[in-house]
């Protein structure tokens, strides 16, 4: 067993969660690093987030804000991504600030960061330096384009990662520019891959196999999400382009409904449409025939969907065990009976943002709950953490603040 088990002191929290006793230091900002660390916190890890004094994580300055009024403590993006963490403000550009960060990391089993790759090594907090002293430490670094390579120092963002990862070229239409997925989807995906990598490394570390430097490029995560474009090129030389229309989408009375099926599901469709005779129709008898007559098939489906509401289409197709869907909005989903039955949304109270309903957890284990807690105020835990982990007396804090360290 590794020394990480020495972290297993904080067992007071109940009920037991999978990562109870794991301490994580997050040097994260925006989406990818914070999402990875948020999921660690939700599973019981103690996450200490180090933020810049006065400004904090830049996500605090991105909306949505209540009534669109910017406020460091009321950013929806920040509140969502940082639930259950402790916030410590440290100026990493000062020697004292860096020293304090180093001391806090000595209490941790995991560091999660998503600075550009050269930043932490420049500050003397690079993975190699940290792990030379703490060989069991897991350091997880997420970057836009990779830890090495000609783009390592490039400024990245969601648009750029979607572009480099091959996704943008395939989204959109024949008459439109390429398209990225909504919001920050690529960064969330990279944060999820980083979570898997981190937990794998934690497991290995607990078996005495040493820590790891886990690196994830957001562009690589997006490339892994392409269902077939990369292997299609490798196998055939074909480069798929943007398709002229959205193959599975149809106009319903109140929005859009969709279907996406593989050939084994085809026989269920005619019954779902109330057209069992289509099963015996030569035009649709085989995969090849259906492809040859796909416009006619789309017309039949489209006419059926057009006179129904999107939710009715979804439930009717699914009642026939056919993979149909509806284009649900966030408003629709707040009312979803499925999400209600699963307890997906959780109410969390925050002293500045009030009580809001947040998306909760992606999975359940034996019906156990997760830790759903509010995001910290900027620097809310600075004094407590510095006292506990760095032996800094509260009476010394004004001096540190005056020196610009905290």
């Amino acid at each position: 067993m590794s020394t990480l088990d020495a972290d297993n002191l904080d067992m007071a929290r109940s009920p037991a969660l999978p990562l109870d006793g794991l301490t994580v230091v997050e040097l994260g900002h925006h989406v990818a690093g914070p999402f990875c660390a948020k999921l660690l916190a939700m599973q019981g890890a103690r996450v200490i987030k180090i933020e810049r004094p006065g400004l904090g994580d830049p996500a605090r300055r991105l909306g949505p804000f209540p009534c669109d009024v910017p406020d460091l403590e009321r950013s929806g993006l920040f509140l969502y991504l940082n639930g259950g963490k402790e916030s410590v403000t440290l100026n990493l550009k000062s020697d004292t600030g860096r020293q304090l960060a180093r001391n806090i990391i000595r209490h941790a089993g995991v560091v999660v960061e998503n600075f550009r790759p050269r930043v932490l090594p420049t500050l003397g907090l690079g993975a190699d330096t940290l792990r030379a002293e703490q060989p069991d430490l897991v350091v997880t670094s997420i970057s836009s384009f990779g830890a090495t390579g000609p783009y390592a120092d490039y400024r990245g963002d969601e648009l750029g990662s979607m572009a480099m990862g091959g996704m943008a070229h395939l989204l959109g239409g024949a008459q439109t520019p390429p398209l990225k997925l909504a919001g920050n989807a690529g960064q969330y995906l990279a944060g999820t891959f980083a979570l898997a990598g981190t937990l794998g490394a934690v497991f290995g570390s607990r078996l005495g196999r040493g820590g790891r430097h886990v690196t994830v490029a957001i562009s690589d995560a997006i490339a892994a999400a392409l269902p077939q474009a990369l292997v299609e090129y490798a196998y055939t030389g074909n480069v798929g382009g943007r398709r002229p229309r959205n193959a599975g989408l149809y106009r319903a009375r109140d929005g859009h409904a969709s279907m996406s099926y593989q050939q084994p599901q085809w026989p269920r469709l005619p019954a779902a449409l109330g057209r069992p005779e289509l099963l015996d129709d030569d035009r649709f008898a085989t995969t090849e025939a259906r492809l040859a007559h796909q416009a006619e098939l789309a017309e039949i489906i489209g006419a059926w969907i057009a006179e129904r509401e999107k939710a009715a289409v979804y439930h009717a197709l699914q009642a026939a065990h056919f993979p149909g869907g509806a284009r649900f909005s966030v408003t629709d989903l707040y009312e979803s009976p499925q999400y209600a039955a699963r307890g997906f949304f959780v109410e969390i109270e925050h002293p500045r943002a009030g009580t809001l309903r947040y998306p909760g957890a992606p999975w359940l284990i034996d019906g156990r709950t997760w830790r759903h807690a509010r995001a910290p105020l900027l620097g809310e835990h600075t004094a407590a953490v510095l006292e506990e982990m760095c032996g800094v007396a509260r009476s010394d804090l004004p001096v540190l603040a005056a020196n610009g360290a905290i």
Binding site: C67, F145, G166, L171, A185, V216, L291
Partner: protein, 423 residues
């Protein structure tokens, strides 16, 4: 580094019942981390991607064993052994349960209810091996009124809310593609995370668990801030194309060549001034209405047109290098072909050339998770259907040659799809 040559999951055995995308990707991630992953497929009903009549084959040629030449299968099943076993008959089920007794993880993404109907639900597995972790990567999770609804990635994109926010505000949604099964790879990575945190917990509890994962919920999590916008402001968030509320301009701009584009994002007012200098437009730099993001947002179309006038005569790589040299976020929009030769992939040894038994040598994408910045190695290429059946059953369960012959004759095991036509 001491111990670093031993992969984190060495010694962990995973029975991967996954099919299509999410389940197999989850298993591959665990295999990449060193687990022994056994892809279990029924010869009667193998992974359906093996049976696609219009599948993706090397040079378009299905060959004599098309079920072993599927690009989609081979891309997401590396670092796995192949075992064929018909779980719907008692011989197959019994052998499977004997393997469960020797394994750590079972993962599946069948429709909800299938596992129970096969008689290998969690209670049965846990009775055989209380340490077993069963991960059910389900469309909707195992509970709730929609638990038995069936979905592929594109449908999950719709019902999770992701599709409602992806797209152009001023173009008919029927005229563009808004997703490529994103909830599948997300679900696979979430599934691997769930399994790994349960493995960590098992070190102290000694007990297994049943993971009930909802791919739909996972996909809704990636639009969390849009939910909060509605919760805060009671307004319906709409798709924003490639625009950003705080960064203006931003988008994909046309470059020299056919269907060539470059991503550009101006993160702040300083970057705007830099951009104007690079594109030699002091008039834009001096325009007071454009000095702030809010002002530029009001003139977004004009600014986009001016910027595209500059990019349109240049190639994407040149634009990228030029803007990045001035600290402005930019990247080329790459196709698969562009990615295959792009220096940022090549320099990081991203592409791996692997020989698959029935498909020959091809390049495959790298894994996004790297340890100590070394690319993941394919210790094993994707298996043919049931490729390692005899070895696994003999070595792990002591099944005799005579018994293997009987099982083959009964169709419980086999290396060819039995009675399943290409669909």
């Amino acid at each position: 580094m001491i111990g670093a040559s031993q992969l984190p999951l060495e010694g962990i055995r995973v029975l991967d019942l996954g099919m299509y995308f999410a389940g197999p990707l989850c298993g591959a991630l665990l295999g990449d981390m060193g687990a022994e992953v056994i892809k279990v497929e029924s010869p009667r009903r193998p992974d359906p991607l093996r049976l696609q009549a219009r599948g993706l084959f090397p040079d378009g040629d299905p060959g004599t064993e098309p079920w072993n030449r599927s690009g989609m299968i081979n891309e997401r099943n590396r670092n796995k052994l192949g075992l064929s076993l018909d779980l719907s008959v008692s011989d197959g089920r019994n052998l499977f349960l004997r393997l469960v007794a020797l394994s750590d993880v079972v993962l599946e993404n069948f429709s909800t209810g299938v596992l129970d109907r096969l008689g290998i639900g969690y209670d049965v597995l846990a009775a055989v091996n209380p340490r077993i972790i069963l991960a059910s990567i389900a469309s909707q999770g195992l509970t709730g009124p929609e638990r038995e609804y069936v979905s592929f990635g594109p449908v999950l994109e719709e019902i999770s809310g992701l599709a409602s926010l992806t797209g152009f505000p001023d173009v008919d949604p029927l005229l563009y593609t808004s997703g490529l099964a994103f909830p599948d790879p997300l679900g696979g990575a979430m599934g691997a995370s769930a399994i790994l945190s349960t493995l960590v917990e098992r070190l102290s509890t000694g007990r297994g668990a049943h993971i009930d994962l909802s791919q739909r919920q996972a996909a809704s999590m990636v639009i969390g801030e849009f939910f909060l916008d509605y919760a805060m402001n009671s307004r319906l968030p709409l798709p924003q194309g490639n625009q950003h509320t705080a960064y203006v301009p931003s988008g994909y701009y046309r470059c020299l060549g056919s269907d060539e584009w470059v991503a550009i994002t101006v993160h702040d007012d300083g970057a705007w001034q830099q951009l104007c200098a690079v594109i030699e437009r002091p008039d834009l730099a001096a325009e007071p209405r454009y000095a702030t993001a809010a002002g530029r947002a009001d003139a977004r179309n004009i600014i986009d047109a001016e910027l595209e006038r500059w990019t349109a005569g240049r190639d994407a790589e040149t634009v990228t290098a030029c803007l990045q040299a001035h600290g402005i976020a930019s990247a080329p929009v790459l196709t698969a072909a562009g990615m295959s030769s792009h220096p940022n992939y090549v320099a990081r040894d991203y592409w791996e050339e692997v020989e698959q038994l029935a498909s020959g040598r091809h390049f495959y994408r790298g894994e996004p998770v790297r340890y100590d910045d070394r690319p993941v190695e394919s210790r094993l290429s994707a298996p043919n259907l049931g490729q390692h059946t005899a070895d696994i059953l003999q070595d792990l369960l002591g099944v005799t040659e005579a018994e293997l012959e009987r099982l083959t004759a009964c169709g419980v095991i086999g290396t060819e799809p039995r009675g399943a036509a290409l669909g």
